[in-house]
């Protein structure tokens, strides 16, 4: 695994912003949320679409109430779900997991911030081809 500086924190000035780049031949997007930075590969788990170019949403969910009615509500306070622009598969930005099927997910990379720079750790090109 290789740690790469990908951008300054200035590139992600506030929660809800994102920064896309290529590292070791992998298209990576770093997302800033209220509790930190998260990096996903720009390759949908469904058909390989450019998922990180999709729109973001709050996590909409619903539950069946004791009276049998359904209650629809947001399970998150910020837009921490991204939907692929091709078919609309939704992913949790923090975990990379698909909302409709947690067994499926977008590849997620470790992110850390040091001295005003954002670092992403990805497999080295040679490893990623292995």
């Amino acid at each position: 695994m290789e740690r790469h500086a990908v951008c300054s924190t200035d590139a992600l000035p506030e929660p809800g912003t994102r920064y896309s780049t290529e590292v070791e031949g992998i298209e990576v997007t770093v997302f800033r949320l209220s509790d930190g930075y998260f990096a996903l590969e720009n390759k949908c788990a469904h058909q390989g679409g450019p998922v990180c170019r999709g729109a973001t949403f709050r996590k909409l969910t619903a539950e069946v109430m004791p009276d049998g009615r359904t209650r629809e509500f947001y399970a998150s306070e910020e837009e921490d779900v991204i939907a692929c622009p091709l078919h609309g598969w939704e992913f949790d930005i923090r975990s990379g997991r698909a909302l409709a099927d947690a067994r499926r997910g977008v590849r997620k990379f470790a992110v850390d911030v040091d001295g005003g720079d954002v670092y992403v750790t990805v497999p080295q090109r040679k490893e990623s081809l292995a």
Partner: protein, 377 residues
């Protein structure tokens, strides 16, 4: 990367890719095709403030994302995905290694089927067809066209079939579906013409289905949401019409006639064929003009596009599903630029290479013919 840049070129597949369902839309709606009408019709439509768009859909059937077009298919110069031929060529044909694409316009289908009156639809279909012949097909020999015919007037539709057959680049007749099954003799003049000129009939839902009186009706009740309608509409319309084509003897009466079911899926076909074959053996005397098992007619005269592909959990399930049906009746389609599209490099994985190769390209070549697809002999 902007969402309006053409897709980066993917590694071209090692095999021929024929895309049997690509959607175009006139950039400025009806205004784009008005120049292809005579003045009287042009003025009538202008005075009527005619136009078309998805805004006529009931709210319950609007896509929850607000559009059915892939966000990344929007041309940089504006307009909906599928409205800019140059961008479509770069973003889809070039990037995905597509050797021929059958263009199909839902706005023409919907207006021909029900949204326009019979006389209006005659004028509209001819204009849609001439618009594509002049503004799309000359740009790239990979662009092939399914010419829409005015099904509400079968004699005029037959005339249009014969007129279109003379144009290089027309590879199929796009026949809109009404609330009259395809085996109904209403369609016979159209079938006679199609059989005569050797053009297959391409079928596709029009968008008016399940909504307007006169369009194919919903089976069993009214779907409550976009998702429900999306899941059930095409397969149920496909099942009933395919069964009708067989048992009315239409496929027997027109042995040279061929049908391509575009975007109806294929997972439902094998169980239906088994059920039809079984019923035919037991009830044969009710339809004695059906002289061979229904499945035999289908294998001889009908094809189904793979999109929307059956997204199974295990690739062995796909192998079984295709094996159950027979790969000979399957042809690839992407449905570009619609949201539920399948891209050639990311679908049908797990099949034997020869089977995948046949579905991606060769089966369509055999069905439409090399000349009609613009391929070198």
């Amino acid at each position: 990367m902007s969402v309006t840049q053409p897709a980066p070129a993917e590694a071209p597949p090692s095999t021929l890719v024929i895309d049997c369902d690509v959607h175009t839309v006139p950039k400025e709606g009806l205004k784009s095709i008005l120049p292809y009408m005579d003045e009287a019709w042009r003025k009538r439509f202008e005075r009527k403030r005619a136009n078309f768009g998805a805004d006529s859909l009931p709210l319950r059937y609007n896509h929850p994302n607000g559009r059915v077009i892939r966000a990344d298919s929007m041309p940089p110069g504006g307009g909906p995905g599928g409205s800019d031929p140059e961008f479509l060529i770069a973003d889809h044909l070039d990037a995905r290694g597509v050797s021929a694409a059958l263009l199909n316009t839902l706005q023409a289908l919907g207006h021909s089927a029900i949204l326009a009156g019979p006389d209006e639809s005659v004028a509209m279909c001819a204009a849609f067809n001439d618009f594509h012949l002049q503004e799309w097909l000359p740009l790239d020999s990979r662009l092939r066209y399914a010419a829409t015919v005015p099904v509400q007037d079968p004699l005029k539709a037959a005339e249009e079939v014969r007129r279109m057959a003379g144009h290089e680049g027309v590879a199929a007749v796009a026949l809109p579906m009404m609330n009259t099954y395809l085996g109904n003799r209403w369609h016979y003049p159209i079938y006679e013409a199609a059989e005569e000129v050797g053009l297959p009939i391409a079928l596709h839902v029009s968008g008016a289905d399940y909504i307007y009186q006169g369009a194919p009706v919903a089976a069993g009740g009214i779907a409550e949401s976009y998702a429900e309608r999306f899941v059930t509409m095409a397969p149920t319309i496909g099942m009933t019409n395919l069964t009708n084509l067989v048992f009315t003897g239409t496929l027997e009466r027109f042995p040279g006639l061929r049908f391509a079911f575009l975007e109806f899926g294929f997972g439902w076909v094998a169980p239906l064929l088994r059920r039809m074959d079984s019923a035919w053996r037991e009830l044969r005397h009710e339809t004695p003009w059906v002289t061979k098992p229904p499945s035999a007619y289908v294998h001889d005269q009908v094809r189904f596009t793979t999109q929307p592909s059956e997204e199974v959990g295990d690739k062995d399930d796909l192998v079984r599903a295709v094996g159950d049906l027979g790969a000979d009746v399957l042809v690839f389609s992407s449905d570009y630029p619609h949201w539920d599209n399948d891209m050639p490099h990311n679908t049908l994985r797990g099949l034997e290479p020869e089977t995948r190769k046949a579905i991606l390209g060769q089966n369509a070549v055999d069905f439409f013919g090399r000349t009609r697809l613009g391929l070198a002999a």
